[in-house]
């Protein structure tokens, strides 16, 4: 084995082993060991591993596997940082957590994506542990924000469908494509459900969830003196058509005329019995219900209409 020191040119010198350069020193005092395996750029104060032209203070370069490996032998921990398998990677292994920490009382860990000038923060974990997506000031443990579109949602997805929870315009939205609908459960038991046909179901002492049928319109009015509506729901008006003879006009029409009408009315002075009727009661026997209107009335045993102070009507469908 021959070790020699040479100055093959006027600008470089080298240490050779058996005639081959092992270490080259250039005129600017840059040092090249094993032709780029380790290079110290004295002019720019940079170090290259795998490159003889480092562009950064420390640059590691390799055609397929460019990484730094840290090994802790006591607990058999390994941490690799670099590029391999066509990915940029940070990978840990061994018997403990992989911790990424900002050891600071007030500053977050922020995650960015996007190229070049579009590199944008996408998520952060602030010093209090709140996670924010689309916000630099997460106010809760998990805070998702998108004020630019007025539509923001988080999605949970399985092979059978998805659940989206978020905002749509000014509305809070819970949306699912799950074929069996939505179930709200208490201790593992269904308490409220909306099935695939949009039927609303609840238990409420029934024993199991069952379809709940809705009152689609209601009204309470005074049929005496100045006839007036006390309160109502889905009723645009009532029509006073005569003594004890009224029409209830729906704000939003019924889907068909197969609805059910129930009602009650107060007694009237001088009349033994006042009854409530609809769908062609005695005062207006020819009146048939429509999708937008139903006739109701208060009448005496004789069949004559009677004005009463309280008439209450509910329509179920």
């Amino acid at each position: 084995m021959t070790v020699s020191v040479k100055a093959p040119t006027s600008t470089t010198g080298s240490i050779q082993l058996n005639g081959s350069d092992v270490l080259t020193i250039e005129s600017d005092r840059s040092v090249d060991i094993d032709s780029g395996t380790l290079y110290v750029d004295a002019t720019n104060n940079r170090v290259g591993i795998g490159t003889s032209s480092p562009a950064h203070p420390l640059q590691i370069s390799h055609a397929t596997t460019s990484r730094i490996n840290f090994s802790e032998t006591t607990n058999s921990l390994t941490l690799n940082i670099g590029q391999w398998g066509s990915k940029n990677r940070i990978e840990g292994s061994g018997g403990s957590d992989l911790i990424i920490s900002n050891y600071d009382a007030s500053n977050p860990i922020a995650f960015y994506t996007g190229s070049g000038g579009g590199n944008t923060e996408r998520m952060r974990i602030n010093a209090s542990g709140n996670v924010g997506i689309g916000t630099s000031s997460p106010g809760t443990k998990f805070h998702v924000s998108d004020t630019s579109t007025n539509t923001v949602k988080s999605r949970t997805q399985a092979s059978t469908g998805y659940v989206d929870i978020g905002m749509g315009g000014n509305s809070g939205v819970f949306d699912t494509s799950a074929s069996d609908g939505i179930r709200l459960r208490l201790s593992g038991n269904d308490a409220v459900a909306i099935d695939a046909s949009s039927n609303f179901k609840f238990n409420s002492g029934y024993g199991s969830v069952a379809n709940a049928y809705a009152c689609r319109a209601w009204v309470n009015f005074n049929g005496t003196g100045t006839v007036a509506i006390r309160d109502s729901g889905n009723v645009s008006s009532i029509t006073d058509s005569g003594v004890g003879d009224y029409r209830v006009n729906f704000s939003t029409a019924m889907p068909d005329t197969n609805y059910a009408v129930v009602g009650s009315c107060q007694g009237a002075s001088g009349t033994d019995i006042v009854d409530f009727g609809s769908f062609g009661y005695s005062a207006s026997p020819s009146v048939t219900p429509t999708t937008s209107q139903v006739a109701v009335g208060a009448f005496a045993y004789s069949g004559a209409g009677v004005d009463t102070a309280y008439v209450s009507v509910a329509v179920f469908r």
């Binding site: 100045t226 729901g233 009532i238 006073d240 704000s251």
Partner: protein
């Protein structure tokens, strides 16, 4: 202003529409005129009147006519 809509039934009796205040409050588009367009039977001539113009004594309610 508390209004009523009056029209004449086919049998000559008078029908009086009493608006729901809830319906009127639902939208700026829900006006007494819009209610008349919605709830007065098609083809009927109607009149929008102040509630004070409607008699409160309903003894002969079925005999009321519009003049």
């Amino acid at each position: 202003m508390d209004k009523r809509i009056v029209y004449t039934n086919d049998d000559g009796t008078i029908a009086i529409i009493i608006p729901s205040q809830n319906w009127l409050a639902e939208s700026e588009e829900n006006t007494i005129e819009a209610l008349a367009a919605k709830d007065v039977p098609e083809g009927k001539t109607y009149h929008i009147v102040d509630v004070s113009e409607i008699p409160t004594d309903r003894t002969f309610r079925n005999a009321w006519t519009w003049e």
